[in-house]
C-alpha cells in the first residue's frame, strides 16, 4: 500500500516525463465518465491510488480529500456524522472519484434547490504542467482572496491540470424527507414547478417522467408536513423514493439505454419548447432529456431558449458538448495555453481542438 506522498510523487513523475517527452496524458479516476467528453486521447494516468479523506470535522461543514477518494467512501464518512453532499454527484455505472466529480462538475436532482457542484467547491489543489502543486481557495466558507480558481477547475475535465485534492462544503442531512407523486402532463408539471419555486416550500427535487411528477420535500418536519398538505398527491414510500431519485441521479432509468439521447440544460421558467414531449424532466423543468428523433436540431432549439444541449448518446458526428461562442472559445484557448502550454493534459476532452 503506497503512501499518499508516494502516490502523488509517482503522478508528478509521470507529468514531468510527459512534459519532457511531449507525451499526452489521459487522466483517469474510476473511469465512470469515460463515455463523456469529446474524445479520449493520450497515455492513461491512473489517479485512483492518491486517495483518502484528509480532514473532516462535522462542526466545520467541510471535508477535504485526495482526488482518488471514491464517492461511496465520502458518502459513508459523511452519513456516519449525519451529513451529506447536497449537490448529489451522479455515480453513473460505478463509484466515481472526487477528482472526476469536480472535473466534470455534474450535479444531481437537488442542484436546482441546493446549488451545483461548483457552489460546494471551497478549495482545490492543482498539479500543473510544471509538476508544481498550487492551492486555490481553502477550507473556509467565505473566501474572496485571489481569483476563484478552485471553481474554474470545476467542469474543466482535467484539461488545465490534475486536481489532486478538494475541499467540499457539506451540510447536515435534512431532518425530514418525503417524496410526492402527482399525475401531470409535462407542460403542467413545468408550470407547477415554476410556481412552487417562487413559494416558501422546502423543495429539494422536482422531476417528471412517464406521466407523473415527482416532488421531494426536505427540511424541518413541520415545514415538510405543511408542504405535503398543500401540494397533495400520493406519498411515495421512503425506499421507493430513494431508489427513484438515485436512478435519476445516476442515469439508471431504462431511458438512458436509448440509442440517441439529448440532455438540454435551460434557464428557469422557460416554458414549453418547440419539441415533442420530453422523456424526462429534472431540476424543476430546467433539465430536459429527449430521445433523438429524425433530424430534430436540439442544439438550435436549446440555444434559442438560452440554454445548451449535450449529446448524451448517439448522433456521434455532432460535438459532445454544446459548441462555444467565438469569444468563449478564445478564452478557453488562452486559459489552456497558459495553464498547459505543451498540451499534456486530456487533449480534446472538453473542446475538440484543445
Amino acid at each position: 500500500m503506497s503512501t499518499p506522498a508516494a502516490a502523488l510523487a509517482a503522478i508528478r513523475d509521470r507529468v514531468l516525463a510527459a512534459a519532457a517527452s511531449g507525451a499526452k496524458l489521459r487522466l483517469r479516476g474510476s473511469g465512470t465518465k469515460d463515455f463523456l467528453g469529446e474524445r479520449l486521447d493520450g497515455q492513461v494516468l491512473e489517479l485512483g491510488a492518491h486517495r483518502g479523506i484528509i480532514a473532516y470535522d462535522p462542526s466545520e461543514l467541510v471535508v477535504t480529500a485526495r482526488c482518488g477518494t471514491t464517492l461511496s467512501e465520502l458518502e459513508a464518512a459523511l452519513a456516519a456524522r449525519g451529513q451529506f453532499l447536497p449537490f448529489e454527484p451522479p455515480a453513473f455505472a460505478g463509484d466515481p472519484t472526487l477528482g472526476g466529480i469536480v472535473a466534470a462538475g455534474l450535479s444531481g436532482p437537488r442542484r436546482m434547490y441546493a446549488g451545483a457542484a461548483r457552489d460546494f467547491v471551497l478549495g482545490a489543489r492543482l498539479l500543473n504542467a510544471d509538476g508544481e502543486v498550487l492551492r486555490f481557495g481553502g477550507e473556509v466558507m467565505k473566501n474572496v482572496a485571489g481569483f476563484d480558481l478552485a471553481r474554474l477547475l470545476c467542469g474543466s475535465y482535467g484539461i488545465l491540470g490534475i486536481i489532486t485534492e478538494v475541499s467540499l462544503k457539506v451540510l447536515p442531512l435534512p431532518r425530514q424527507e418525503e417524496t410526492l407523486r402527482l399525475e401531470l402532463d409535462p407542460d403542467a408539471a413545468c408550470a407547477a414547478f415554476d410556481r412552487w419555486a417562487g413559494q416558501p416550500l422546502p423543495l429539494s427535487a422536482a422531476a417528471w417522467h412517464e406521466g407523473r411528477a415527482w416532488i421531494r420535500l426536505s427540511g424541518a418536519a413541520p415545514a415538510v408536513r405543511a408542504a405535503r398538505a398543500r401540494l397533495g398527491g400520493e406519498l411515495v414510500p421512503t425506499d421507493q423514493a430513494r431508489a427513484w431519485w438515485k436512478s435519476v441521479r445516476d442515469c439508471h432509468l431504462p431511458l438512458f439505454t436509448q440509442a440517441r439521447l439529448w440532455r438540454l440544460s435551460l434557464p428557469a421558467a422557460v416554458g414549453p419548447l418547440a419539441l415533442p414531449r420530453p422523456n424526462l424532466l429534472d431540476w424543476g423543468g430546467t433539465l430536459r432529456w429527449y430521445v433523438g428523433e429524425g433530424s430534430v436540431d436540439f442544439r438550435a432549439i436549446a440555444a434559442a431558449a438560452g440554454g445548451t444541449a449535450l449529446r448524451w448518446r448517439g448522433d456521434a458526428s455532432a460535438e459532445r458538448f454544446h459548441p462555444l461562442s467565438a469569444a468563449s472559445h478564445a478564452l478557453h484557448v488562452r486559459l489552456k495555453e497558459r495553464f498547459d502550454p505543451r498540451g499534456i493534459f486530456n487533449p480534446g476532452r472538453l473542446v475538440r481542438d484543445l
Binding site: E60, L126, F136, G138, V140, M141, G146, F147, L152, P172
Partner: protein, 256 residues
C-alpha cells in the same frame, strides 16, 4: 470567549444552520450599547445573535433547539425576541458596530479574515495579545457561523506612527488567519489595501496562475493594472519589510 466560540460550533454540530449567527465581544457591545440601547448584557464576555427563519412552526422548533444547545454550552443569559421591533433593535446594535467604533475612537481599521470555526477562540486570544504588543485596542464583531472575523482596530491617525501600527496589527491578524488554514479576506476582497497580504497567502506559482487568468481575459492589460494580484517584485519588497512578532524597527519613520 472560548465558550462562546465553542457554542457556535455546537450549534452547527447539532445539525442546525441558522439564518444568521453573529458574535460580538464585550468591547464591541460596550461601544454600541450607549449609542443603540439594544439592551445587550454588558457583563458578558461575548454575545451571540442567532436568527432563525422559515414557517412559524419551523422557527419555533429551531429556536427551542438552539436554546437547548446554547444552554448546554454555558450561555449566561438567553433571550428570544418577542416581536419584529425587538428583533430589529438587537440587529441594529450589530449593524451599527462600525459607526459605534467611530464614536469611541478617532479612526478605526476593519479587517476581514476567515478561519476554520474551531480556531475562533484561539484567534481572539491572539488578538488580545497583539493589542498589548501594538498598544492599540481592537474590538471584535463577526460572522461567527462562517468563521469570518471583523476585528476593528482602533487608532488615532493624528498620533505619529499610530496608523502604521494599526496596519501592521491588521496584517499580523491576517497572517495568523492564513497560518490556521484561513484567508485574508472573507467577503470584502482585495484591491490595493490588502494586496501585500496576498504574498502571504499565495506562492509565486499560485500568483503566476492568477496572472495567467488575468492575461486570458485581458491580454492587453487594460483593466485595473496593479490591483488584486501582487507582482513578484512587490512581494519581495513586502518580505523585506515584514518583521515578525512585533512592530517595525523604526515605526516613526514614514514608509512608502
Amino acid at each position: 470567549m472560548h465558550r462562546a466560540a465553542d457554542a457556535v460550533a455546537a450549534v452547527i454540530r447539532a445539525g442546525i444552520i441558522p439564518a444568521a449567527l453573529e458574535m460580538m465581544d464585550r468591547k464591541a457591545t460596550a461601544a454600541v450599547e450607549p449609542f443603540v440601547r439594544a439592551g445587550y448584557d454588558l457583563d458578558a464576555a461575548a454575545i451571540l445573535l442567532v436568527e432563525s427563519d422559515g414557517t412559524p412552526e419551523e422557527v419555533a422548533d429551531q429556536v427551542a433547539e438552539i436554546e437547548q444547545v446554547l444552554r448546554r454550552a454555558g450561555a449566561g443569559v438567553l433571550r428570544v425576541s418577542s416581536d419584529d421591533a425587538q428583533r430589529a433593535l438587537w440587529w441594529s446594535g450589530r449593524k451599527n458596530a462600525f459607526p459605534a467604533a467611530g464614536r469611541i475612537s478617532p479612526d478605526y481599521y476593519c479587517m476581514d479574515g476567515t478561519i476554520p470555526r474551531r480556531h475562533v477562540g484561539r484567534v481572539l486570544e491572539a488578538i488580545e495579545a497583539m493589542e498589548a504588543r501594538y498598544g492599540l485596542r481592537c474590538m471584535n464583531v463577526f460572522h461567527a457561523g462562517d468563521g469570518n472575523l471583523h476585528p476593528v482596530i482602533l487608532f488615532d491617525a493624528n498620533e505619529p506612527g499610530s496608523w502604521e501600527r494599526a496596519e501592521r496589527f491588521g496584517a499580523e491578524i491576517l497572517e495568523l488567519c492564513v497560518e490556521l488554514g484561513g484567508t485574508i479576506t472573507g467577503e470584502h476582497g482585495v484591491g490595493i489595501e490588502k494586496i501585500n497580504s496576498m504574498c502571504v497567502q499565495f506562492s509565486a506559482a499560485e500568483r503566476a496562475a492568477f496572472f495567467a487568468v488575468k492575461e486570458a481575459f485581458d491580454p492587453a492589460g487594460l483593466l485595473n493594472p496593479g490591483k488584486l494580484i501582487p507582482t513578484l517584485a512587490r512581494c519581495a519588497e513586502y518580505g523585506r519589510m515584514r518583521v515578525h512578532a512585533g512592530a517595525l524597527a523604526h515605526p516613526d519613520l514614514p514608509r512608502f
